[in-house]
């Protein structure tokens, strides 16, 4: 294989026990991830999209190494010094309110090697300038900043340990449109400059289309479609991807909201459905959907759906 990947996930399963009886045995399991295979390419941006409860954030935790998967293997192809960093959705709660900004920014470095204060301050000043913060902010505290500036601090913190991979967990969904554009531009510039690999978790498809090279669509702990983002988002093959794309409000729509109502209830992840996970909500469901689906390569992407993989996409969209 000539593909330069920084991380490879193979058949990742993640189960969380819930409840327990008198002997401490769990009543059952919440199946958060159900067999994720992903190759994360160096210097690229992988978008992960899906509804709440589909396992996006659990996947982020597995990628970060915070959680050890119940099954499967994560292979990391980078040195021990370099690590994975994360930028969270809510910059309000993800920054330590009792630390001045320069401490916040250099915390990942400080936690590993206790370097002299002057050195850490210099590093913080350097990073603050990189993310567009003025040097005088270093001694202020996080509550003195607006949401956009706090997210810049969070990005500076993620950069401080010079990571290879940054997991961006909905970094702009708490921000206003004009500020979102500033942050997205900053992320793009930093990637070009430092050759970073991003894993961009989002539910905003238009941001994913703009920022990501590849996209993985998740449903109930599985990747149902994975491929180049322009290909997948322009011509989705999986019925779930299509439902997701059709649901996005758009400025260009002329016909209002449309009339057809779709079933929006997610199946429980405590007792996984038999057969195709998307069967109950799928308009194409038919023969063959009673068995578990595997990822099948199509021309431009991989799809986990028997109906589309077997037939031509024209027939499906009709």
């Amino acid at each position: 294989m000539t593909i330069d990947s920084v991380m490879t996930l193979s058949n990742i399963h993640m189960r969380f026990p819930f409840g327990e009886d008198w002997r401490g045995r769990p009543h059952g399991f919440v199946h958060a991830l159900n067999g994720i295979d992903l190759e994360i390419l160096r210097g690229k941006t992988l978008g992960v999209v899906g509804e709440s409860g589909c396992g996006k954030s659990t996947l982020a935790q597995v990628l970060m190494g915070i959680r050890k998967p119940s099954e499967g293997e994560v292979i990391r192809n980078f040195g021990a010094d370099h690590d994975v960093q994360i930028v969270f959705q809510d910059p309000q709660s993800s920054l330590n309110a009792r630390m001045p900004v320069w401490r916040v920014i250099t915390e990942p470095v400080f936690a590993v090697t206790k370097r002299p204060k002057a050195e850490l301050r210099a590093l913080a000043a350097d990073l603050a300038a990189k993310v567009g913060l003025r040097p005088e902010v270093l001694d202020r505290y996080p509550h003195e900043f607006s949401g956009g500036q706090r997210q810049r601090i969070a990005i500076a913190r993620a950069l401080s340990s010079d990571p290879d991979v940054i997991v961006l967990d909905e970094p702009t969904s708490a921000l206003d449109i004009s500020i979102q554009a500033q942050i997205l531009n900053l992320l793009k510039d930093l990637q070009a400059e430092r050759g970073l690999t991003y894993i961009f978790i989002s539910h905003d498809i238009s941001v994913v289309r703009y920022l990501c090279d590849e996209v993985a669509v998740m449903y109930l702990g599985q990747v149902v479609e994975h491929g180049a983002s322009d290909a997948v988002l322009a011509a989705p093959k999986h019925p779930y991807t299509r439902l997701l794309l059709d649901s996005i409000p758009t400025m260009r729509a002329t016909g209002g909201l449309g009339e057809s109502l779709s079933n929006t209830d997610l199946p429980s992840n405590r007792n996984l459905p038999t057969g195709c996970f998307f069967k109950d909500r799928c308009e194409l469901a038919g023969v063959g959907c009673d068995v578990r689906q595997n990822m099948v390569p199509t021309e431009q992407a991989q799809v986990r759906c028997c109906q589309t993989a077997a037939t031509t996409p024209q027939k499906v969209s009709a």
Binding site: A181, S247, L257
Partner: protein, 325 residues
């Protein structure tokens, strides 16, 4: 034309603070006609919610001061109404839907109890008749097993389901005006679409007016007939949704639309708006958008007023004034 359902004239609201008063609303004129779906769009801090909350008398007494302006709901001046009359109005002729369906419902009471309370308080339906009404409302929101849902607690239900229940509850007494404050922001896109469809259909069916508050331009463009774009406590542009968003006349509206990643080319940087919203403790004397505007010039030091830039389309910008003059 019939009397407007909601009319706000020259509203100014300020919040006293230690470092000076925060001038949240700085002269907002707004009206909602019967049966109309009106959008209020703007970024955080633009006073969308404060405007609506002031109109319904929902801000905590003492925490704010209305320094100017009049508000009338259904032809009655809010300032002359007693708290008792306001309470009768809210939930009856005027209903609200909030952003967080989790916090808007009482976690210790079943859905049925909460719905029946609203219905019994504002109509003369009692007992089984009220219960039938609740079931009918839930059925309208496409909740299939309505009888069973009435016995459930809010935590047992999904966010989309809770929001549908709240919409059903809001329509319990056939309101003339519904204020929806970011009703779908906490929901997934597929659920958002469903909730918006149901809300739209129900409003059209009952002829209720809707004041829809959102920061999402795309949602607003699909949902509303007419919109007001707000910035720093002022209305900067208003008009039919398609016109304002299709052919924006105020530089702020135009910049917002450009900043959306929707049409952006992945290879190019996004057109972001530099800077941040002005500090409202000392609101700018002139145009509030001046400091971030690429067309700013000398005239912007004095405050522009809303002027006609097309049929029913208004913008508060000196550029348009000069063009139309």
């Amino acid at each position: 034309m019939a009397d407007p359902v909601l009319k706000i004239d020259g509203l100014e609201v300020l919040f006293p603070g230690f470092s000076g008063d925060v001038h949240a609303v700085n002269g907002v004129d707004l009206d909602v006609q019967p049966g109309e779906i009106v959008g209020l769009v703007g970024e955080s801090g633009s006073a969308k919610s404060v405007t609506a909350m002031t109109a319904l008398g929902l801000l905590p007494a003492g925490a704010f001061r209305q320094s100017a302006g009049t508000i009338s709901i259904l032809g009655r001046d809010v300032a002359t109404m007693s708290e008792r009359e306001m309470n009768k109005l809210r939930g009856g002729d005027v209903a609200m839907i909030f952003q967080e369906p989790q916090t808007a419902l009482n976690p210790t009471k079943t859905i049925g109890k909460q719905m029946l309370r609203v219905i019994e308080l504002h109509s003369n339906l009692r007992g089984l008749a009220a219960r039938d009404r609740a079931i009918e409302l839930l059925k309208d929101m496409r909740i299939n097993d309505a009888e069973e849902i009435l016995g459930r607690y809010p935590f047992e239900l999904s966010g989309g389901m809770r929001q549908r229940i709240l919409i059903g509850m809001a329509f319990a007494c056939s309101p003339k005006l519904l204020v929806a404050d970011e009703p779908t922001t906490a929901l997934d896109v597929t659920v958002q679409r469903q909730v918006l469809q149901l809300l739209h259909a129900k409003a059209r069916q009952t002829g209720a007016s809707v004041l829809f508050i959102s920061h999402d331009l795309a949602v607003i463009s699909q949902f509303c007939d007419r919109i007001y774009v707000m910035y720093a406590g002022r209305v900067v542009e208003s008009g039919p949704a398609q016109k304002v968003l299709g052919n924006p006349q105020h530089p702020y509206t135009a910049a917002l639309i450009e900043a959306l990643p929707e049409d952006a080319n992945p290879g190019e940087p996004l057109a972001s708006i530099p800077g941040t919203v002005p500090n409202l403790v000392n609101p700018p004397k002139g145009c509030a958008f001046q400091a971030r505007c690429r067309h700013a010039h000398a005239a912007c030091d004095s405050r522009p007023v809303l002027t006609d830039v097309g049929t029913k389309h208004q913008a508060a910008c000196w550029l348009r004034e000069e063009i139309s003059a």
